[in-house]
C-alpha cells in the first residue's frame, strides 16, 4: 500500500484535500472561496467539511469583517500528529514545493522521482528530488534543510541545468534515462515541460 492509498483509506476525498491544504499551511487563514479554488472542492461540500472540522476544534474559525476565515488550530491536542500524517503522505509534495519557493525564478522544473514517486517507498526511504535550472547545489541543500524535520525523512537532491539534462539524454546517460522513464511527482512544471526537453532544440 502506498502512502497515498493509506490516506484515502483514512479520510474521504474532500476531507483529505481540506486537511492537507490547511494543516500544511499552519500560518495561513483562508476564506472558503479561496480554499475551494485552491483545493478544487465544491463550495457547498466545502462548507460542510469546514463546519464539521471546526466543530471538533481541528480548525479555527475567524470572522474577518463579514467574512469567515479558517485556519488549522495548532492548539488542538492532536494537531501535531495529524499534521505529521499529512506531511508524511499526501502533503509531501506541498511541503517540498513550499521549500523550493525561494528558488522559483532560477528553476524550470522540479519533481520527485525514485521509490517514492513509484509508490514503492519504505517508511524511511529518502525522498529523491530532481531539479532542473541554474541553481547552485548549496542553495538547494539550504532550501530543503528545514523540510527534513517536517517530513521525518531525508531529501536526496539532484540538480542539473537544462543543458546538462539535454546533453545526458542525448548521450543515453543511464541515470538520466532511467529518471526520464520512471514515474514522477511534479513539484514545479509538468510532464509536458519535461518532454519538451527532448524535443525543443533552442536550449
Amino acid at each position: 500500500m502506498t502512502s497515498g492509498d493509506l490516506l484515502e483509506l483514512l479520510f474521504g476525498a474532500y476531507r483529505r484535500k481540506v486537511l492537507a491544504f490547511l494543516l500544511l499551511r499552519p500560518e495561513g487563514s483562508f476564506h472558503v472561496r479561496e480554499i475551494a479554488r485552491l483545493t478544487g472542492v465544491p463550495v457547498g461540500s466545502l462548507h460542510r467539511e469546514l463546519k464539521s472540522l471546526a466543530d471538533v476544534g481541528l480548525l479555527a474559525r475567524e470572522p474577518v469583517g463579514n467574512q469567515v476565515r479558517y485556519r488549522a488550530n495548532r492548539a488542538h491536542q492532536i494537531y501535531a500528529e495529524l499534521a505529521g500524517i499529512f506531511a508524511k503522505t499526501a502533503g509531501l509534495a506541498d511541503v517540498l514545493r513550499d521549500a523550493l519557493m525561494p528558488l522559483v525564478g532560477r528553476m524550470e522544473l522540479a519533481f520527485v522521482f525514485g521509490s517514492l514517486a513509484q509508490g514503492k517507498q519504505r517508511t524511511l526511504s529518502d525522498v529523491d528530488v530532481f531539479m532542473i535550472g541554474d541553481v547552485a547545489f548549496a542553495d538547494v541543500v539550504k532550501a530543503l534543510s528545514a523540510t527534513q524535520a517536517r517530513l521525518g525523512r531525508e531529501v536526496n537532491p539532484v540538480v542539473m541545468t537544462r543543458r546538462e539534462v539535454r546533453a545526458k539524454l542525448k548521450a543515453g546517460d543511464r541515470f538520466v534515462a532511467r529518471v526520464a522513464r520512471e514515474p514522477k511527482i511534479f513539484l514545479m512544471g509538468s510532464e509536458d515541460d519535461f518532454r519538451k526537453l527532448f524535443k525543443d532544440r533552442a536550449a
Binding site: G114, D126, F137, A138, V141, K142, S145, E154, N156, P157, V158, V159, M160, E164, K168, D173, R174, F175, V176, R178
Partner: protein
C-alpha cells in the same frame, strides 16, 4: 555541539597525532581527489574517491584537534562531518552540503543507487575546498603537523 561533547557521548576519542600521520592522510586525500577525475570509471566510483578525500581531510581536521571518531560507533562519518565547524571553523551550510554528499554515498553503496555527474562534480569541488581549508588551517594553527 563542542568537540568535548562528542567526547562525552563516546562518538569521539582522544587522539594524539603527528606530522607523519597527517601527511600520509593528506597525501591519500590528494590521490583520491586526483583519481576522482578519471573518466574511464563509473560516476559512482569517481564520487566514492572524492568522498574519501572529504573524509580523510575531515579526519585530519579532527586529529589535529586531538580527537578521532570512534569507528566502532554507528555514524562515525556523520560525526566527522558535523564536528568540522568546531574543528576548523567552517560554516554550518557547508556541513549541510557535506552531509547530503555523505548520504548520497550511503545510498549508492547500500542500495546501488546511481550517482549523477553533477553530484560527482559537487563532491569533487567540496573535496578540493575542504582539503585546501584543512591545509591552510594546519599551517596557521598547527605548523608542527603541517610538515
Amino acid at each position: 555541539m563542542t568537540l568535548e561533547n562528542f567526547l562525552r557521548t563516546g562518538q569521539l576519542k582522544p587522539h594524539e597525532s603527528d606530522a607523519k600521520e597527517v601527511r600520509r592522510l593528506l597525501d591519500a586525500a590528494r590521490r583520491n581527489l586526483r583519481d576522482s577525475a578519471a573518466t574511464n570509471i563509473s560516476p559512482e566510483n569517481r564520487f566514492d574517491a572524492a568522498y574519501k578525500a572529504v573524509m580523510q581531510s575531515a579526519l585530519v581536521a579532527l586529529m589535529a584537534n586531538g580527537f578521532i571518531p570512534d569507528k566502532k560507533q554507528p555514524g562515525h562519518h556523520a560525526v566527522a562531518i558535523q564536528a568540522l565547524p568546531k574543528a576548523i571553523g567552517i560554516a554550518a551550510d557547508r556541513v549541510a552540503v557535506l552531509d547530503v554528499l555523505r548520504r548520497k554515498r550511503n545510498l549508492s553503496d547500500y542500495t546501488g543507487e546511481d550517482i549523477d555527474e553533477r553530484s560527482v562534480d559537487e563532491c569533487r569541488a567540496e573535496a578540493k575546498r575542504l582539503l585546501d581549508e584543512v591545509g591552510a588551517w594546519l599551517k596557521k594553527n598547527h605548523p608542527e603537523l603541517a610538515g
